[in-house]
């Protein structure tokens, strides 16, 4: 008992508590995934609202409403980007409980906080994505009579989203790590579980070493998967020459194009 090495402890802890680590990793991934997806949707909505054009010839009411909405959006983005998520978690979880008597389950609170927090970042990321789409794309869509929203959904957002995929992946990875702050509201994610295991096993170094490895595996796997999705979304670099005499399946395959990317 007295002469256990580092690796001995690691294997003992893993042997006894692996279901807890696994469960913690599961909760962490669940929160990160839900938070990133909902946050992305929030960001998409917020950034899209910001693109609604206000022209000099528009009605006064529309102008007033739009300036109020844009102000609220700016406040939202600034507040949630400008304060730590740990503080947001405490305020939302205990604030809702004390001020409104709403007793959220920790996991529900976790989804809420991570989504809103991610949404603030995503709003800026999506805005950057929309800005990265050439103005000519808007012109062309408007010129054939498409409305603002038809243009956004069919032309601009698909291109914007493709452009910001790396940034979205980045947010996902950050969320996997940052869910650890939710231990302050007793969400049983990986960090919280690790603390519990440490309390039972009374080995700090080894327990957190295991947690570190688990985090690394999670983030590494997610990064690879996202890279793969990006490649898939870019589609094939080849296209098929269609001619009236040949059927599509035996048409000529052209590899690449003028801009080989």
């Amino acid at each position: 008992m007295e002469s256990k090495t580092f690796w001995d402890w690691v294997s003992v802890i893993l042997d006894q508590y692996w279901p807890m680590f696994l469960q913690g990793a599961g909760v962490t991934m669940l929160i990160a995934m839900v938070g990133t997806i909902l946050g992305f949707i929030i960001g998409l909505i917020v950034a899209s609202i910001r693109t609604i054009p206000v022209r000099p010839q528009d009605h006064q009411v529309k102008k007033a409403v739009m300036s109020v909405v844009n102000f609220l959006i700016a406040v939202y983005v600034e507040v949630f980007r400008g304060t730590p998520m740990m503080v947001q978690a405490m305020i939302v979880y205990y604030g809702l409980m004390e001020a409104f008597n709403i007793d959220l389950a920790p996991l529900t609170a976790a989804f809420l906080i991570v989504s809103i927090n991610t949404g603030a970042y995503m709003a800026e990321i999506v805005r950057g994505g929309i800005d990265s789409v050439d103005d000519g794309q808007f012109d062309a869509a408007h010129a054939i009579g498409m409305t603002h929203w038809q243009t956004m959904f069919n032309v601009v957002l698909p291109q914007a989203i493709r452009n910001i995929l790396p940034a979205i992946g980045n947010e996902f990875v950050i969320n996997i790590k940052d869910t650890s702050v939710l231990n302050v509201i007793s969400v049983s994610e990986l960090f919280f579980v690790t603390k519990t295991v440490k309390g039972i096993a009374l080995r700090t170094f080894e327990t957190f070493f295991i947690a570190g490895i688990v985090y690394l595996v999670l983030t590494f796997t997610v990064t690879r998967i996202l890279r793969y999705i990006e490649k898939k979304m870019d589609g094939s670099d080849s296209y098929t020459i269609m001619s009236s005499s040949t059927m599509p399946e035996n048409g000529l395959k052209i590899k690449g194009g003028f801009e080989n990317r």
């Binding site: 000519g136 009579g145 670099d237 269609m242």
Partner: protein, 253 residues
């Protein structure tokens, strides 16, 4: 809609059109009309306002003043259906502006389906018809980034034609092309002109203005200086400024 304003064969009539960008006056009261089947070339040096005029016509730029009549109705009236109006005016851009996320075929089908609410099969047939006309039918599965400039512009023309518009606006359609590719695009535009389509073409191709169009409008510093037949403009320009511009444009090689 009744023709309250002008005779039947006027498509677009512009009265006192003004456009300011901040303090800068780009268009200083333009009067201009286009009749059915006319091919009008807008020429003039850079900054003369010809592209702005074209963009004002389909309201990509909102005019600061004046009136634009389409079949006798002022399109700047509140409540006028701008998207419907734009669908009836095709536009071809200098930088092509094909939808980068769509294939060649989808570029042509999108407007028909979303704006004109045409069913998929019909939209596909119409698109194929016009893609064949511009010689791009073989490339329906290609994405814009896989095409050359000339090919992109021909697809852009097919996209505009697929909406079966009443008039086509061309904004320097060959200015961004390699010299070698200017010919293939110009040929398509010339064929369209010969087919009787109403067109307004902002161009630096004096040859085109001279040979294909049946009216040439010379713009200078936000006003129309001359509006006449190609013969009169090229052989007997009335203004000194027109003479200068033409001699510089024609003797550049």
């Amino acid at each position: 809609m009744s023709e309250q304003h002008n005779n039947k064969n006027t498509v677009i009539e512009i009265k006192g059109l003004k456009k300011n960008f901040g303090e800068r006056e780009i268009l200083k009261g333009i009067n201009f009309d286009v009749h059915y089947g006319e091919v009008v070339s807008l020429i003039g040096s850079s900054g003369s306002g010809k592209s702005t005029l074209l963009r004002c016509i389909n309201l990509l730029e909102y005019p600061s003043g004046g009136e634009i009549y389409f079949h006798g109705n002022n399109v700047l009236t509140k409540g006028y259906d701008i998207t419907k109006y734009r669908a009836k005016l095709g536009m071809v851009f200098q930088s092509f502006n094909l939808f980068e996320n769509k294939t060649v075929l989808d570029n042509c089908m999108l407007g028909q389906m979303k704006v004109l609410k045409i069913d998929k099969e019909t939209a596909r047939k119409t698109s194929l018809k016009y893609l064949e006309k511009v010689g791009m039918k073989e490339y329906i599965n290609a994405k814009p980034r896989q095409l050359s400039g000339g090919q992109k512009q021909r697809v852009a023309i097919a996209r505009a034609l697929s909406m079966e518009p009443e008039a086509l606006l061309f904004d320097e359609p060959t200015s961004a092309l390699d010299p070698e590719m200017v010919g293939e695009v110009m040929k398509v535009i010339k064929d369209l002109a010969d087919s009787g389509l109403t067109m307004i073409v902002v161009t630096h191709e004096m040859q085109f203005a001279k040979e294909v169009s049946n009216r040439v409008v010379f713009m200078n510093e936000g006003v129309i200086l001359e509006d006449d037949t190609p013969e009169n403009i090229f052989n007997a320009p009335k203004h000194q400024r027109t003479k200068e511009f033409l001699s510089r444009s024609l003797n550049q090689y």
